[in-house]
Amino acid sequence: MVKNLINISIRYFLKHWGYSLINVFGLGLGLATCILIFLFLQDELSYDKFHENASNIYRVETHIVGQGEDSHWAASMGNLIPFIQENYPEVQAACKLNFSFNQDVLSYGDLSFREENMVWADSTFFDVFSFEIIKGNKIGALSGPAKLVFTESTAKKYFGNDDPIGKIIKLYDRSFQVTAVIKDVPSNSHFQFDIIVAMDDRRRGDNRVDRSMASAFYSYVRVKDKETMLSFKEKLDQRIWEILGYTVSGDSTNIPEGTDAEFILQSIIDIHLNGHAEKEIKANGDKQYVISFSIIALFVLTIACINYMNLATARSTKRGREVGVRKVLGANGLNIFRQFMGESYVMSLLALMISIVIVEIALPGFNVITGKTLTLSVLANLPLLGSVIVIFLFVGFISGSYPSLFLSNFNPLVVLKSNTISGHSKTALFLRRGLVILQFSISIILIIGALIIYAQIKFIQNKDLGFDKKDIVVLRLTNTIREEQISTLKNEFKSIPEVASATGTSVIPGDRVHFLTVRLPDQVDENIQTTDEDGGVSTMRVLLADEDVINTFGIKIKEGRGFSSEFGTDADAAFLINEAAVEWLELKDPVGTRFEYLYALPQPKKGQIIGVMKNFHYASLHADVEPIMIHISPMLKQYLSIKVNSKDVKNVIALIEQKWVSVFPSIPFEYFLLESSYNEMYKSEINMGQIITYFTFLAILIACLGLFGLASYIMEQRTKEIGIRKTLGASMSSIIRALSKEFIILIAISNIIAFVPAYILMRNWLNNFYYRIDISIWVFIVTAILSIVIALITIGSQALIAASENPVKSLKYE
């Protein structure tokens, strides 16, 4: 029976190889898409699960609501972890991390590298996290000053094959000892690093790092279970104002009125997909994509299954005689059902094999787009294997169910008599049309989605940002570079005629801009009893720069003036704010308003607002422009941005490099273009757009394969009709029209059905952007025309062949 089944399946396949190939290839493409998406989702959902106690590790985050403010920070203050360690024995381990702002240069002998991914961590790091140690001992690895832990590849970079343990590395002109080597951080970790530096090194002399009120740390705790976490959170929340520094020795008068604060204990396994707080360590993934991709996978699979059902059912009418004979010979409905189901599974198995080949071919490209390093090892990946089996069983069943039922219910007599089953049985026809409509509706939704995403990305990229990101070369500075050296370098650059201007800044547009403390003495509420020093304090985004920042970035001044060395006082007493800040601070006459900057200064920097900048999009267009202040400061300089006035940017970069080497012979030269780093912000949208475009293309391809097969089948069935029409004098064009009409109506209906869900889906997606396009009616018109043209080409070719046949030949078929 099984042999008989496989035999007949294979013989059918070979006999009708064109149709079979379309069928199996379509299903294979559908399955391949699903496998790719599965791998993507599996990776997205696997973040941080490699830690032994992953589900019991939490990051303590701060959430403050009140006075028009709703801030949820991933980062917390330096005093939090010591407080927890001291007061909550139920916390099994706690550790804080601090990521290096700047790139630091490490050197070993003659080797020196800029290290971008350094993290400072408490000695309890390995009690919370389980990164695998491969050399050295994790106990004591980070206790005490001047200790470092390397990842495997970093160790290799510095020491080659030598044993790294105990080796001495220079950092900040001091000696650090390598105490352990861990495996490279898995790509599915929400934080990445190459080097861990012992936080204890910062505790030399004093414990400032444990008293720090700056939200520059990430605090992690490990508890026994969820209940412990909940009760711990409750207890911790009771003392939140004390931790935040508002309540000192029981005096709670400083707690801001109408403000609520709580700690959020964010499970680390949720950070990757759900972590969208302020100051996340890095841009996390997005649950939306996980959902969107799941939907797409389902869509594509549905289309592929429908193809199979439609083609198999259409073809099966050709097999009516076979079914009739089998029934006359004693087969019952179940026998027939089993046979066609079996064939469906044989086909699905073939499709599965094809899909694995497709995935292997597509995976490198898919990895480039998604920025992942996915691999296909079906046998080693049990969830994938399980899902593949489930999908295989499901697809085989769904694809085979209708043809099987359709055929097993035939009356043998009818079938034998007419040799073919009429494909025009009303239910069959209705169902087939319904399935074609469903298929095309899905494809049309995808087309509309792809068009709108594409339009939105174009809109973002072309939107007037309020500053000029073109032709700006950005150099990375290290924190060993002093302010005078930056000035020297800038002067050097001025000797290059193509350099228009250059500015050293703390961050560049597209980066996260720091939240720092400022104060408006004029806004001190007279009703509240405060000293002159405390009133009007708030935090806002602050860019630290030099006087060339406005020119270099092409920021426009709306009121007042920009920085200028002519005044001589700008470095010490001038502040620029943007329009959003004017509104936020409710300033009627901003220029001249007294302003102070307090962050990390022994004495506040006092001065006044000298000008108002027009809003410029220093952050993503996902959100409205936030208030920002720019002032001149030598601190936190990370970048030197150079505006180039030349088409030949490459050549100018070579000149810039020469100057750099002359000033910093020992610091590696590193640069990038502002435009490309700025566009990184939309990387996930661009990737999403690309992926959706590919999948849309695939979906249309699969749907067209099905349409092609179905059309060729129907043309074959209508050869007699075509013959009669031609004998009666019909022209070729009128025949093609007659043959294509039905399909065009189906596609038109599909369009109408698809419009509403597509509109709703895409409107929701666009709502993620503060600045977004309107969904234009043209998208729908273009899609409708596009889908009909694609369908016409698919069907037309078949209709043309059918219509150009000699009528005698077509009539003979009878």
């Binding site: 008989n4 059918y12 006359v328 010979l329």
Partner: protein
């Protein structure tokens, strides 16, 4: 073997009512070889389908092996059919994708025979039909006569007590036709009841009895009649 009383069959579409069989009564005994003759559209095939349990009559009684089967469901009929009746068609109705052996094997598969039993029986019957040398061939690689021999082999492989043949020589030249008729005659001589619908006077001479139908009614029923229509 079987007996009909006032058997009738009426086909109805929305507007038209066609009477294909009108009060047909006859009996066929075990071991008989009966030919049913008549012009096109006289109801021969309808009668054969009802006798072969492929269809139900709209009126009258039909006793098959002493069971009244006129009102049987398709499921019940199928069960009786596969155990007792073999079919031979004018256009052979072999499955193109199966080879000779597999075609002949089919009825045994549906009867649930084991693979070894099937092989034995199929080889036996192919030997008997002198087509064993072609058992790996596909129908389209065979001549019409060979195809019909395969079809006969398939009809008898399950050892049915009744064979229904619908114009078995209709698609064959006279030499091949004779071959097939000789096969049927041989089967009849070894005890199988045969009912054959035919247009051919020559073929009808193999039968012991001819039933003549005209417009759905029996007009003549005689043993070894020489009378032409």
């Amino acid at each position: 073997m079987l007996k009909t009383t006032n058997l009738s069959k009426v086909f109805r579409t929305d507007e038209v009512e066609t009477t294909a069989l009108n009060n047909v009564s006859f009996e066929i005994k075990k071991g008989e070889f009966v030919a049913i003759m008549g012009p096109s559209g006289c109801g021969k095939s309808t009668l054969l389908n009802i006798l072969g349990l492929l269809d139900n009559p709209t009126g009258g009684e039909y006793f098959f092996l002493d069971n009244e089967v006129a009102k049987h469901s398709e499921k019940q009929r199928a069960k009786l059919r596969k155990n007792n009746i073999g079919f031979v068609f004018q256009n052979f109705n072999l499955i193109d994708e199966l080879n000779v052996f597999e075609n002949v094997e089919l009825p045994l598969i549906y009867l649930g025979y084991s693979a070894s039993e099937r092989k034995k029986r199929v080889d036996e019957v192919l030997e008997q039909m002198q087509i064993i040398h072609r058992k790996k061939h596909f129908p389209l690689q065979l001549s019409g006569g060979q195809q019909q021999r395969v079809a006969v082999a398939r009809a008898v492989v399950a050892k049915p007590s009744l064979i229904l043949a619908d114009e078995p020589t209709g698609n064959l030249d006279s030499a091949h036709g004779e071959e097939v008729m000789n096969l049927l005659e041989g089967l009849n001589q070894s005890g199988t009841t045969i009912i054959m619908v035919t247009h051919s006077q020559r073929d009808s001479e193999y039968a012991q009895r001819v039933i003549r139908l005209f417009d759905g009614q029996i007009i003549n029923e005689n043993i070894k009649s020489a009378a032409a229509v």
